[in-house]
């Protein structure tokens, strides 16, 4: 059989980065594929339950009470803005303006927290005011209970992702602040950015499905 020349060739690059990108980036991309499939499963469930013959699906615009979809539209805007600020973190880091990078990172974190706060407010309102059957068996749901169920699963699972993302971003911020992440470690910020943009992208899907259609 063919013999292999298992020696020599003292190139330091051998053994890693055959594709010219870091392992971390490939790892994040593959992880995001996985995560996208989890959301796909939940969205498929949503689609099936909503378009089952006989399901009494309310018009979302009428079903959310005073928070309406206007508040969530604002929330979507905030999340998209935080994605923009994430882009600035990387841009400033590449230019070497670490102070400005830190400020943009802070803005991203605040954007994420604002999103979670508004979502918490919306959930509280929906659970306490709009869907009393959740806690009290005496009440009956005004329409298919699956409307609320898929709402909680999809927005809750996404909210969990935003929470993880905020913690992730805080860790990056602390790294920037302490100097552990230097202006050359762009891949660390880039990978965090991949995650954050993904969370943003998925929200646009969730928002469209749950609120708009």
């Amino acid at each position: 059989m063919a013999t292999q020349d298992a020696s020599l060739a003292a190139d330091p690059m051998i053994g890693e980065e055959s594709l010219g990108v870091t392992n971390g980036k490939i790892g994040m991309w593959t992880f995001l594929v996985m995560d996208a499939m989890t959301f796909a499963g939940l969205l498929a469930g949503y689609a099936r339950l909503r378009w089952t013959p006989g399901s009494e699906w309310p018009l979302p615009i009428e079903a959310f009470g005073f928070t309406g979809i206007q508040l969530t539209a604002l929330n979507t805007f905030i999340l998209i803005c935080s994605s923009v600020s994430m882009v600035h973190v990387l841009a400033e880091q590449m230019r070497g303006n670490m102070d400005r990078a830190k400020k943009w990172m802070l803005a991203t974190i605040i954007g994420g927290l604002l999103f979670l706060g508004i979502q918490g407010f919306e959930w509280t309102h929906l659970i306490l005011d709009m869907w009393p059957y959740l806690f009290d068996e005496g009440y009956e749901a005004a329409y298919s209970v699956n409307f609320a169920a898929t709402f909680f699963i999809l927005t809750g699972f996404h909210g969990l992702h935003v929470s993880v993302g905020v913690i992730y971003n805080v860790i990056i911020y602390l790294g920037l602040k302490s100097g552990k992440i230097s202006k050359d470690d762009t891949s660390v910020v880039e990978i965090a950015g991949l995650y954050w943009h993904f969370v943003d992208l998925v929200w646009i899907l969730v928002f469209t499905f749950v609120y708009l259609i």
Partner: protein
């Protein structure tokens, strides 16, 4: 006590040389892919014995009609599901992951996996996952809904027990573990290849793990999403009705999501085995694989088709006839790439200079018996036949020919094949051969007659049956007991040879050509002293007049 070992087995610190405790701690917290691979294999062996024991209890109960050793029918009801869960999620998949952890980084010339810590985390999620999954045994609340957990049977109305909740959460954990592993394998294979090695230079086992990782990545999360919904439905009755028709849910939705994972899962359970057999057959026929590129593409084709056939598990649920026909067509199409692989293996063996050591016995045994499983698969893929055979023992026979005569035998081929590499010592060949023949014969004794039982109409998962089926069931039960006991020969062989076996050289079989055979047995930490350089193998036919028909040997 003093610990003597070599290679990656040896203690890492001075302290560990004298203290068993420190040495064990080094193993438990290791980030070396080879050690993690061994941990996976030990865990898988343990779970295989556990799952095997459950199946023997099932078979003993069924040896005669009427209640025999189990007086509680609901305990019996839980056993098939627990057996399947143990074998699928905690034995076969981790066993392949274990071998792959050991072999894949070396085969591509890498010092370790891409994410060593993630690798360790992925392994340590498994034991707690297993504890949760089987917690019902300790709490006397075993879920009786099989391994498929179809609602509404699995919702809180019909199965209002804690054991079921733990089972669901345990499975979610296993899913997390295997997806983390898949992310790691993909990053490793894509990014850690040594110089000169292109994707179409990868050894076939590495290719198999790459394709399998894609399957895991795309399929497992969908099961997770279904299990998340199931958990919510169980935890908050009256609020969530995803699958319960009483509240507008759809039980068929669960089946779609479940089989969207669980059908590709059968390929997650066999593709690594295909890869192992490809390696074994090449080395023991002393020829390069026939049709390498086609072998890779047929694996990719199997993976893609694997995602398009899930509804063939649901022919009997009343889905539309034209949908069934479509899925029947796609399912039968899978026989094409699988057939290509079988014929490629045969063509590799053809004219080779064959050595029938235990790994080769297992590889050829697999070829013969997996073909039976494949053919019965084509039979049940056919809608009208499946309507008749659905939920009978025919399906049990089919799945066991695929998974026992398929996955299990390939796993044995792989473990025997790489045992000298893993431990630096040879196993006992005589015991290996005895183990093979007992296993191969009694797999057929156990499962072949189940085809007949199924065609005669004996349903699966039943506690009791018509006395007319008694003789066939007795034969099957005797077979299963011998099959189970034969595995202790394997364990004894491995345990003994680990310490006392004949010392193996680096290229233990003399004909290994992939990178793992170019380094010492067992490998050192970080595998290579110098980063290797891969010289592409020239894969070409030899002239017919060459003696023995041996293929061109590059570098000889």
């Amino acid at each position: 006590m003093e610990i003597k070992a070599k290679g990656y087995l040896s203690p890492l610190s001075e302290e560990a040389k004298t203290s068993l405790w420190v040495y064990l701690k080094e193993w438990m917290c290791t980030t070396d892919a080879k050690r993690i691979g061994v941990l996976y294999l030990l865990f898988a062996t343990f779970m295989a014995l556990w799952g095997g024991l459950l199946s023997v209890i099932i078979r003993l109960e069924l040896a005669q009609h009427g209640p025999d050793i189990i007086t509680d029918a609901s305990f019996y009801n839980a056993l098939p599901g627990m057996h399947a869960t143990a074998m699928i999620f905690f034995f076969i998949i981790p066993a392949f992951t274990g071998v792959a952890n050991f072999v894949v980084p070396i085969q591509i010339g890498a010092p370790d996996m891409a994410f060593p810590k993630l690798n360790l985390a992925a392994f340590w999620i498994l034991p707690p996952g297993a504890l949760l999954t089987f917690a019902g045994f300790f709490m006397n609340s075993l879920p009786e809904f099989g391994w498929t957990a179809y609602p509404p049977l699995s919702n809180s109305v019909y199965t209002p027990i804690w054991g079921a909740d733990f089972w669901v959460v345990g499975l979610i954990l296993v899913g997390v573990s295997s997806t983390l592993g898949a992310v790691n394998f993909l990053a490793t294979v894509f990014n850690m290849r040594c110089k000169g090695m292109k994707m179409f230079q990868l050894p076939l086992f590495t290719w198999a793990m790459t394709v399998t990782s894609f399957l895991i990545l795309a399929a497992t999360p969908v099961l997770t999403s279904a299990l998340i919904m199931l958990t919510f439905e169980r935890m908050f009755p009256g609020v969530f009705y995803f699958f319960n028709p009483a509240g507008g849910g759809d039980p068929i939705l669960y089946q779609h999501l479940f089989w969207f994972y669980s059908h590709p899962a059968v390929y997650i359970m066999i593709l690594p085995g295909f890869g192992m057999v490809s390696e074994v057959i090449q080395v023991f026929s002393r020829k390069h694989i026939f049709g390498y590129v086609l072998m890779v593409w047929s694996m990719i084709a199997i993976a893609v088709l694997g995602f398009l056939v899930w509804a063939h598990h649901m022919f009997a649920t009343g889905i539309a006839l034209n949908v069934r026909v479509g899925f029947m067509f796609l399912t039968m199409l899978i026989a094409v790439p699988t057939g290509i692989k079988i014929f490629s293996w045969l063509a590799t063996i053809w004219g080779g200079s064959i050595k029938f050591d235990t790994p080769m016995l297992y590889a050829t045994g697999f070829l013969a018996m997996f073909t039976i499983g494949g053919l019965s698969g084509v039979v049940v893929a056919s809608v009208p036949v499946d309507i008749q055979l659905h939920d009978t023992y025919y399906v049990v026979a089919h799945i066991h020919y695929v998974l026992v005569a398929g996955s299990l035998m390939t796993a044995f081929a792989g473990v025997y094949f790489w045992f000298p590499k893993i431990t630096g010592r040879f196993y006992n060949e005589t015991l290996g051969k005895i183990h093979f023949w007992l296993t191969a014969i009694f797999i057929n004794v156990t499962f072949f007659i189940q085809h007949w039982l199924g065609m005669k109409g004996m349903p699966r998962r039943y506690y009791d049956y018509d006395p007319a089926f008694e003789m066939a069931n007795l034969i099957s039960s005797v077979g299963s007991v011998v099959l189970f006991l034969a595995q202790f020969i394997f364990i004894a062989n491995m345990l003994y040879s680990w310490r006392k076996g004949k010392v193996a050289e680096g290229n233990a079989w003399g004909d290994g050509f992939t990178l793992e055979w170019q380094i010492t047995s067992p490998p050192d930490h970080h595998n290579f002293h110098h980063p290797p350089y891969w010289k592409p193998i020239i894969r070409q036919h030899v002239a017919a007049d060459q003696p023995g028909g041996v293929w061109h040997r590059n570098g000889d």
